[in-house]
Point group: C2
Chain length 139, copies 2
DNA sequence: TAATCAAATTTTAATGATTACAAATTTAAA
DNA sequence: TTTAAATTTGTAATCATTAAAATTTGATTA
Protein backbone atom coordinates (compact mmCIF):
# COMPACT_ATOMS: atom_id res chain seq x y z
CA UNK A 1 0.00 0.00 0.00
CA UNK A 2 1.31 3.43 -0.89
CA UNK A 3 2.03 6.00 1.77
CA UNK A 4 -0.96 8.10 0.66
CA UNK A 5 -3.33 5.20 1.34
CA UNK A 6 -1.84 4.62 4.76
CA UNK A 7 -2.25 8.29 5.63
CA UNK A 8 -5.86 8.10 4.50
CA UNK A 9 -6.47 5.09 6.70
CA UNK A 10 -5.05 6.86 9.73
CA UNK A 11 -7.08 10.00 9.09
CA UNK A 12 -10.24 7.95 8.67
CA UNK A 13 -9.68 6.67 12.18
CA UNK A 14 -8.99 10.08 13.69
CA UNK A 15 -5.26 9.64 13.96
CA UNK A 16 -2.88 12.37 12.86
CA UNK A 17 -0.55 10.70 10.34
CA UNK A 18 2.85 11.41 11.80
CA UNK A 19 6.00 9.94 10.29
CA UNK A 20 6.32 7.22 12.91
CA UNK A 21 2.67 6.24 12.77
CA UNK A 22 2.80 5.88 9.01
CA UNK A 23 5.90 3.72 9.29
CA UNK A 24 4.41 1.45 11.93
CA UNK A 25 1.09 1.02 10.19
CA UNK A 26 2.84 0.39 6.87
CA UNK A 27 4.89 -2.29 8.57
CA UNK A 28 1.76 -4.04 9.85
CA UNK A 29 -0.04 -3.79 6.53
CA UNK A 30 2.86 -4.95 4.37
CA UNK A 31 4.39 -7.66 6.52
CA UNK A 32 1.11 -9.12 7.75
CA UNK A 33 3.21 -11.11 10.19
CA UNK A 34 1.38 -10.41 13.44
CA UNK A 35 4.48 -8.98 15.07
CA UNK A 36 5.25 -8.16 18.66
CA UNK A 37 6.04 -4.56 19.55
CA UNK A 38 9.67 -5.54 19.78
CA UNK A 39 9.72 -7.08 16.29
CA UNK A 40 8.42 -3.81 14.87
CA UNK A 41 10.95 -1.83 16.86
CA UNK A 42 13.91 -4.00 15.83
CA UNK A 43 13.00 -3.67 12.17
CA UNK A 44 12.19 0.03 12.07
CA UNK A 45 15.09 1.17 14.23
CA UNK A 46 17.35 0.19 11.33
CA UNK A 47 15.77 2.94 9.22
CA UNK A 48 15.02 5.33 12.07
CA UNK A 49 17.92 5.14 14.52
CA UNK A 50 16.32 7.62 16.91
CA UNK A 51 13.15 5.54 17.24
CA UNK A 52 12.09 4.80 20.79
CA UNK A 53 10.44 1.56 21.82
CA UNK A 54 7.96 3.54 23.90
CA UNK A 55 6.80 5.21 20.70
CA UNK A 56 6.09 1.81 19.21
CA UNK A 57 4.05 0.85 22.27
CA UNK A 58 2.24 4.18 22.37
CA UNK A 59 1.42 3.97 18.70
CA UNK A 60 0.16 0.40 18.87
CA UNK A 61 -2.02 1.24 21.86
CA UNK A 62 -3.42 4.17 19.91
CA UNK A 63 -4.10 1.95 16.90
CA UNK A 64 -6.00 -0.53 19.05
CA UNK A 65 -7.99 2.23 20.74
CA UNK A 66 -8.91 3.72 17.38
CA UNK A 67 -9.65 0.36 15.78
CA UNK A 68 -6.88 0.46 13.24
CA UNK A 69 -5.39 -2.73 14.66
CA UNK A 70 -6.32 -5.55 16.98
CA UNK A 71 -4.39 -7.44 19.62
CA UNK A 72 -3.75 -11.12 19.09
CA UNK A 73 -2.88 -13.11 22.22
CA UNK A 74 -1.96 -16.64 21.35
CA UNK A 75 0.98 -17.28 23.62
CA UNK A 76 1.15 -15.97 27.14
CA UNK A 77 3.29 -12.92 27.67
CA UNK A 78 3.49 -12.18 23.98
CA UNK A 79 1.19 -9.49 22.67
CA UNK A 80 0.94 -9.40 18.92
CA UNK A 81 -0.73 -6.94 16.58
CA UNK A 82 -2.74 -7.24 13.38
CA UNK A 83 -3.90 -4.44 11.10
CA UNK A 84 -6.44 -6.79 9.57
CA UNK A 85 -9.39 -5.95 11.79
CA UNK A 86 -11.85 -8.24 10.00
CA UNK A 87 -13.12 -11.34 11.77
CA UNK A 88 -10.65 -14.09 10.95
CA UNK A 89 -8.79 -16.84 12.74
CA UNK A 90 -5.14 -17.68 13.28
CA UNK A 91 -2.88 -20.67 13.44
CA UNK A 92 0.46 -20.51 15.21
CA UNK A 93 3.04 -23.13 14.36
CA UNK A 94 4.89 -24.21 17.49
CA UNK A 95 7.83 -25.25 15.36
CA UNK A 96 8.60 -22.25 13.14
CA UNK A 97 6.56 -19.70 15.06
CA UNK A 98 4.73 -18.40 12.01
CA UNK A 99 1.19 -17.17 12.52
CA UNK A 100 -1.11 -17.96 9.61
CA UNK A 101 -4.35 -16.15 8.84
CA UNK A 102 -7.33 -18.47 8.62
CA UNK A 103 -10.46 -17.41 6.80
CA UNK A 104 -13.54 -18.64 8.63
CA UNK A 105 -17.03 -19.03 7.35
CA UNK A 106 -18.32 -16.57 9.87
CA UNK A 107 -21.87 -17.82 9.60
CA UNK A 108 -22.98 -19.58 12.74
CA UNK A 109 -19.78 -18.72 14.54
CA UNK A 110 -21.55 -17.19 17.51
CA UNK A 111 -22.92 -19.88 19.85
CA UNK A 112 -26.63 -19.68 20.74
CA UNK A 113 -25.56 -19.69 24.36
CA UNK A 114 -24.34 -16.12 23.90
CA UNK A 115 -27.68 -14.79 22.69
CA UNK A 116 -28.07 -12.46 25.68
CA UNK A 117 -24.41 -11.41 25.72
CA UNK A 118 -23.11 -8.30 24.04
CA UNK A 119 -20.15 -9.44 21.99
CA UNK A 120 -17.44 -6.90 21.21
CA UNK A 121 -14.67 -9.23 20.05
CA UNK A 122 -14.43 -12.78 18.73
CA UNK A 123 -11.17 -14.68 18.68
CA UNK A 124 -10.41 -18.07 17.21
CA UNK A 125 -7.01 -19.61 17.00
CA UNK A 126 -5.25 -22.91 16.75
CA UNK A 127 -1.83 -24.16 17.70
CA UNK A 128 0.13 -27.04 16.26
CA UNK A 129 2.53 -27.70 13.41
CA UNK A 130 2.26 -26.20 9.93
CA UNK A 131 2.53 -28.26 6.72
CA UNK A 132 6.02 -26.97 5.96
CA UNK A 133 7.33 -28.02 9.35
CA UNK A 134 5.51 -31.37 9.18
CA UNK A 135 7.27 -32.09 5.89
CA UNK A 136 10.65 -31.11 7.35
CA UNK A 137 10.08 -33.40 10.30
CA UNK A 138 9.73 -36.39 7.98
CA UNK A 139 13.07 -36.04 6.24
CA UNK B 1 -15.00 -33.57 43.97
CA UNK B 2 -13.60 -35.52 46.91
CA UNK B 3 -9.93 -35.55 47.65
CA UNK B 4 -9.65 -39.20 46.59
CA UNK B 5 -10.91 -38.34 43.10
CA UNK B 6 -8.45 -35.50 42.79
CA UNK B 7 -5.59 -37.77 43.78
CA UNK B 8 -6.76 -40.30 41.20
CA UNK B 9 -6.79 -37.64 38.53
CA UNK B 10 -3.25 -36.58 39.34
CA UNK B 11 -1.99 -40.16 39.35
CA UNK B 12 -3.66 -40.84 36.03
CA UNK B 13 -1.57 -38.04 34.60
CA UNK B 14 1.68 -39.21 36.12
CA UNK B 15 1.79 -36.61 38.84
CA UNK B 16 2.59 -37.53 42.42
CA UNK B 17 -0.33 -36.21 44.48
CA UNK B 18 1.39 -34.01 47.01
CA UNK B 19 -0.58 -31.93 49.48
CA UNK B 20 -0.09 -28.70 47.53
CA UNK B 21 -0.89 -30.24 44.19
CA UNK B 22 -4.12 -31.67 45.52
CA UNK B 23 -5.07 -28.29 46.96
CA UNK B 24 -4.34 -26.43 43.75
CA UNK B 25 -6.11 -28.90 41.50
CA UNK B 26 -9.09 -28.97 43.88
CA UNK B 27 -9.24 -25.21 43.69
CA UNK B 28 -9.36 -25.30 39.90
CA UNK B 29 -11.96 -28.06 39.79
CA UNK B 30 -14.27 -26.59 42.41
CA UNK B 31 -14.12 -22.89 41.63
CA UNK B 32 -14.11 -23.26 37.85
CA UNK B 33 -13.23 -19.58 37.74
CA UNK B 34 -10.29 -19.65 35.35
CA UNK B 35 -8.01 -18.01 37.90
CA UNK B 36 -4.61 -16.44 37.55
CA UNK B 37 -1.73 -17.93 39.50
CA UNK B 38 -2.00 -15.05 41.92
CA UNK B 39 -5.70 -15.62 42.55
CA UNK B 40 -4.95 -19.22 43.51
CA UNK B 41 -2.09 -18.13 45.73
CA UNK B 42 -4.10 -15.43 47.51
CA UNK B 43 -6.86 -17.89 48.29
CA UNK B 44 -4.78 -20.86 49.36
CA UNK B 45 -2.27 -18.92 51.42
CA UNK B 46 -5.10 -18.29 53.88
CA UNK B 47 -5.22 -22.00 54.62
CA UNK B 48 -1.54 -22.72 54.05
CA UNK B 49 0.42 -19.76 55.41
CA UNK B 50 3.75 -21.24 54.35
CA UNK B 51 2.70 -21.55 50.71
CA UNK B 52 5.08 -20.03 48.22
CA UNK B 53 3.93 -18.38 45.02
CA UNK B 54 6.69 -20.19 43.18
CA UNK B 55 5.04 -23.46 44.15
CA UNK B 56 1.82 -22.29 42.56
CA UNK B 57 3.63 -21.43 39.35
CA UNK B 58 5.61 -24.67 39.36
CA UNK B 59 2.50 -26.71 39.97
CA UNK B 60 0.48 -25.00 37.26
CA UNK B 61 3.31 -25.44 34.76
CA UNK B 62 3.41 -29.11 35.68
CA UNK B 63 -0.35 -29.44 35.24
CA UNK B 64 -0.15 -27.92 31.77
CA UNK B 65 2.77 -30.11 30.79
CA UNK B 66 0.92 -33.22 31.97
CA UNK B 67 -2.39 -32.16 30.43
CA UNK B 68 -4.28 -31.79 33.68
CA UNK B 69 -4.98 -28.13 32.90
CA UNK B 70 -4.83 -25.74 30.00
CA UNK B 71 -3.77 -22.13 29.72
CA UNK B 72 -6.36 -19.57 28.76
CA UNK B 73 -5.01 -16.29 27.39
CA UNK B 74 -7.78 -13.83 26.83
CA UNK B 75 -6.24 -10.62 28.05
CA UNK B 76 -2.62 -9.77 27.45
CA UNK B 77 -0.32 -10.25 30.40
CA UNK B 78 -2.82 -12.34 32.29
CA UNK B 79 -2.34 -16.07 32.16
CA UNK B 80 -5.31 -18.04 33.41
CA UNK B 81 -5.76 -21.73 34.05
CA UNK B 82 -8.58 -24.18 33.49
CA UNK B 83 -8.79 -27.78 34.69
CA UNK B 84 -11.52 -28.43 32.14
CA UNK B 85 -9.35 -29.70 29.30
CA UNK B 86 -12.25 -30.47 26.97
CA UNK B 87 -12.77 -28.37 23.86
CA UNK B 88 -14.95 -25.48 24.92
CA UNK B 89 -15.08 -21.72 24.48
CA UNK B 90 -14.98 -18.76 26.83
CA UNK B 91 -16.57 -15.37 27.23
CA UNK B 92 -14.92 -12.69 29.33
CA UNK B 93 -17.05 -9.83 30.53
CA UNK B 94 -15.11 -6.57 30.35
CA UNK B 95 -17.33 -5.14 33.06
CA UNK B 96 -17.29 -7.69 35.89
CA UNK B 97 -14.30 -9.69 34.70
CA UNK B 98 -16.04 -13.03 34.95
CA UNK B 99 -15.05 -15.71 32.47
CA UNK B 100 -17.95 -17.89 31.34
CA UNK B 101 -17.62 -21.36 29.87
CA UNK B 102 -19.28 -21.69 26.49
CA UNK B 103 -20.27 -25.08 25.14
CA UNK B 104 -19.65 -25.26 21.41
CA UNK B 105 -21.03 -27.68 18.93
CA UNK B 106 -17.59 -28.89 18.04
CA UNK B 107 -18.71 -30.28 14.70
CA UNK B 108 -17.29 -28.30 11.83
CA UNK B 109 -15.23 -26.16 14.11
CA UNK B 110 -11.98 -26.87 12.29
CA UNK B 111 -11.74 -24.86 9.06
CA UNK B 112 -11.06 -26.80 5.85
CA UNK B 113 -8.12 -24.50 5.30
CA UNK B 114 -6.30 -26.34 8.11
CA UNK B 115 -6.62 -29.77 6.53
CA UNK B 116 -2.86 -30.17 6.14
CA UNK B 117 -2.05 -28.66 9.55
CA UNK B 118 -1.52 -30.72 12.67
CA UNK B 119 -3.72 -29.12 15.30
CA UNK B 120 -2.74 -29.53 18.94
CA UNK B 121 -4.94 -26.88 20.52
CA UNK B 122 -8.10 -24.99 19.57
CA UNK B 123 -9.13 -21.81 21.33
CA UNK B 124 -12.31 -19.82 20.93
CA UNK B 125 -13.23 -16.87 23.06
CA UNK B 126 -15.34 -13.76 23.04
CA UNK B 127 -15.20 -10.47 24.87
CA UNK B 128 -17.99 -8.08 25.68
CA UNK B 129 -20.56 -7.54 28.39
CA UNK B 130 -22.46 -10.30 30.18
CA UNK B 131 -26.27 -10.26 30.67
CA UNK B 132 -25.95 -9.40 34.36
CA UNK B 133 -23.82 -6.36 33.65
CA UNK B 134 -26.02 -5.32 30.73
CA UNK B 135 -29.00 -5.31 33.06
CA UNK B 136 -27.13 -3.30 35.68
CA UNK B 137 -26.14 -0.75 33.04
CA UNK B 138 -29.80 -0.06 32.28
CA UNK B 139 -30.80 0.90 35.80
C1' DT C 1 9.82 36.31 11.17
C1' DA C 2 9.63 35.24 15.96
C1' DA C 3 6.98 33.76 19.82
C1' DT C 4 3.70 30.47 21.45
C1' DC C 5 1.43 26.28 22.32
C1' DA C 6 -0.06 21.58 21.86
C1' DA C 7 1.04 17.20 20.14
C1' DA C 8 4.42 13.77 19.44
C1' DT C 9 8.51 11.63 20.74
C1' DT C 10 12.25 10.44 23.71
C1' DT C 11 14.53 9.22 27.99
C1' DT C 12 14.70 7.20 32.23
C1' DA C 13 12.68 4.89 35.84
C1' DA C 14 9.03 1.94 37.70
C1' DT C 15 5.90 -1.92 37.69
C1' DG C 16 4.30 -6.54 37.69
C1' DA C 17 4.18 -11.26 36.13
C1' DT C 18 7.00 -15.04 35.59
C1' DT C 19 11.23 -17.64 35.92
C1' DA C 20 15.93 -19.04 37.67
C1' DC C 21 18.49 -20.70 41.15
C1' DA C 22 20.10 -22.35 45.36
C1' DA C 23 18.91 -23.63 50.01
C1' DA C 24 15.81 -25.97 53.03
C1' DT C 25 12.50 -29.36 53.88
C1' DT C 26 9.92 -33.42 53.16
C1' DT C 27 9.27 -37.99 51.34
C1' DA C 28 10.44 -42.42 50.13
C1' DA C 29 13.69 -45.91 49.30
C1' DA C 30 17.66 -48.68 50.82
C1' DT D 1 18.68 -45.06 60.35
C1' DT D 2 20.95 -43.29 56.24
C1' DT D 3 20.69 -41.52 51.91
C1' DA D 4 18.99 -39.85 47.74
C1' DA D 5 15.34 -37.85 45.28
C1' DA D 6 11.48 -34.97 45.05
C1' DT D 7 9.16 -31.06 46.58
C1' DT D 8 8.83 -26.63 48.43
C1' DT D 9 10.56 -22.22 49.76
C1' DG D 10 12.83 -17.59 49.53
C1' DT D 11 15.28 -14.43 47.01
C1' DA D 12 16.94 -12.43 43.10
C1' DA D 13 16.78 -11.88 38.11
C1' DT D 14 14.42 -11.22 33.78
C1' DC D 15 11.48 -9.28 30.49
C1' DA D 16 7.49 -6.93 28.57
C1' DT D 17 4.98 -3.03 29.34
C1' DT D 18 3.74 1.38 31.40
C1' DA D 19 4.44 5.88 33.92
C1' DA D 20 6.24 10.27 34.28
C1' DA D 21 8.91 14.01 33.01
C1' DA D 22 11.82 16.30 29.59
C1' DT D 23 12.61 17.45 24.89
C1' DT D 24 11.54 18.05 20.17
C1' DT D 25 8.55 19.03 16.41
C1' DG D 26 5.32 21.51 13.81
C1' DA D 27 1.52 24.30 13.33
C1' DT D 28 -0.60 28.80 14.71
C1' DT D 29 -0.59 33.38 15.88
C1' DA D 30 1.22 38.02 16.92
MN1 LIG E 1 -4.45 -11.96 11.07
MN1 LIG F 1 -13.34 -23.15 30.84
ZN1 LIG G 1 5.94 -24.20 10.92
ZN1 LIG H 1 -20.34 -8.97 33.68
Amino acid sequence: MQQKKVEQLLKQHDIKPSYHRIKILSYLLEKKNHPTADMIYQELVKEIPTLSKTTVYNTLNLFVEKNVAIIITIDENETRYDADISLHGHFKCSSCGKIYDIRLNTAGIIPDELEKFQIDESHIYFKGTCPLCLKKALS
